[in-house]
Amino acid sequence: MIFANQHLETLTVNPVKETNRTVLLKKVMNNHTIRIENLDVYIEDQHILKDINLAVPEKSITCIIGPSGCGKTTFLKTLNRMHDETPEVKIKGRVYVDDLNIYDKGVNVIDTRKKMGLLAQRPCPLPMSIFDNVAYGPRIHGIKKRKAINQTVIQYLQYVGLWDEVRGRVRSSPSRLSIGQQQRLCLARGLAIEPEYILGDEATSSLDPLSTKKIEELFIKLKEKYTVILVTHTLRQARRIADYIVFMYLGKIVETGPTEEFFNNPKKQLTREYLSGSFS
């Protein structure tokens, strides 16, 4: 489960009945694969993320929700060190991925990013054919054998359900694909680097309902193998697919919890207000 430190306390104060879910939680708590400690992020002089403490359980979907400008995307970017590309951003604190602080000196940024498959807000195919888009990851990481690359490309295009749709034209440009297909292509491309984590930054916000549904189904399928962290601003989506919710407001984590518990029995006043739509 995803627990801010203060939430761990509330759990011990309110012991819950031993159900399937709590068993799962206990199991999961020993397997925190991403652990964030005392994370502060500044962009120029603005304090964007304030003292974030969080542990993300593996093989599940964690949704980060909160109003625009609360730091969701900034948070997601700290996980794969994309802030390295903007010198104005300063980061304090520790982010452990598989028990390695990715902000330690000497940690290779490329190894960190290779573990994280990122799905951006809008699909952004690279300027090359559909095939080469998926093959891009394996190629940059040094795989040269044609057979292996072919296999990987087909495997992941099948995985996202795109193979049958693009079968005859994998050598052509992805610009003629629909935007939903492009997003699935981008997901296949991200999976082809064989990451351990999937990060989604409002990955369905530019898609129509049908494409959104397809992507959501894929996320649910993905959590069997991967740990999925999604930023979303649609509460309904979070409710549909998330196992755990993190609610952020003004750069702070307000409340975390398993989805049902979070929506049915929010503990903080602020959460209740947000869920009832008093502010957004």
């Binding site: 990122l118 300027p127 992805p174």
Partner: protein, 299 residues
């Protein structure tokens, strides 16, 4: 009240259309006037002979333009070959690697470089490049060279078009969406991999367009080239031969030999040839650019 607004709108539209047509008319006017001025020599001699003969003896009535045409192409080609790697790598550095403060320093300096008058480049070339070629470079390849050579022209011209290329190319690279480079980087690509496989590929049509623009500029550049390339009417056989491009021919002789009608007409033909070279070159490159863009239509 309403009517006046519409009348104003329509007048403005037609007025601006007129101005736009007027601007384009200049191209035709210049082209035609050069053509008519060059007509006497074309009637007097066979045009094919004029274009393919290397014999230039105005006082005997021999006007062979081949040395000039070849010199023009030769010098421009060397210039672009030298300038392209420099400007592509500089623009990539400025776009993808340089910190904001470095960029802020570089960009005005590059603009300043393109604002320096050609004659200054010419003087500088005469004082540094020419002796350098004559004393250091040429002796390694040929027995003797004055230094006033194709190579000197090419180098000076390259230095002149590099700022132009850099400022266009940084614009081209800047127009690549941030999401695209981020997509590549987030997959664990290094910057260099991203540059090679995403940025250069995406901006290939833009780089071609910049090259065309720089070449057109190079064809017409007169003063700086004239000062360093030797101005001898011969077909240059190596880098270390002197040459005589078309613009230099016109600038050096126009106004002096006007007592000879055929000479004046020949100079006009030189101007017309230069005009045609630039127009043809632009046309062909626009066509190929369209083809490339069709081929590279990857999002």
């Amino acid at each position: 009240m309403r009517k006046i607004r519409f009348v104003k709108d329509i007048t403005a539209r037609h007025f601006m259309l007129g101005i736009a047509i007027f601007t384009i008319l200049f191209l035709l006017v210049i082209g035609f006037s050069l053509f008519f001025k060059a007509l006497p020599i074309m009637k007097e001699k066979n045009l094919w002979v004029l274009l393919t003969s290397a014999n230039w003896k105005p006082f005997k009535g021999d006007f062979g333009f081949l040395p000039y045409i070849i010199s023009t192409l030769y010098v421009s080609l060397i210039a672009i070959i030298i300038a392209l790697p420099f400007s592509i790598l500089t623009s990539i550095f400025l776009n993808s690697y340089a910190s904001r403060s470095i960029r802020r320093f570089f960009e005005p300096v590059v603009d300043l470089l393109s604002g320096i008058p050609p004659v200054i480049y010419g003087v500088w070339g005469t004082l540094t490049i020419v002796p350098l070629i004559s004393n250091k470079i040429a002796p390694k390849f040929v027995d003797f060279s004055t230094g006033y050579t194709v190579l000197a022209g090419g180098i000076v011209l390259a230095i002149m078009i590099i700022p132009l290329l850099i400022s266009i190319m940084t614009e081209v690279f800047r127009s690549i969406p941030r999401e695209m480079t981020d997509a590549s980087l987030s997959m664990g690509a290094t910057k260099w991999q991203t540059v090679k496989k995403v940025i250069l590929r995406k901006s290939f049509p833009g780089i071609i367009a910049a090259t065309v623009l720089a070449l057109s500029r190079a064809f017409g550049e007169t003063m700086a080239v004239l000062m360093v390339c030797g101005n001898i009417a011969q077909i240059p056989h190596s880098f270390f031969d002197a040459c005589y491009p078309l613009p230099a021919l016109i600038a050096n002789n126009y106004g002096e030999m006007l007592s000879m009608p055929s000479y004046e007409s020949a100079l006009m033909l030189a101007a017309f040839l230069l005009f045609i070279i630039v127009v043809l070159f632009n046309g062909i490159s626009r066509f190929t650019l369209n083809q490339i863009e069709k081929k590279y239509q990857f999002s």
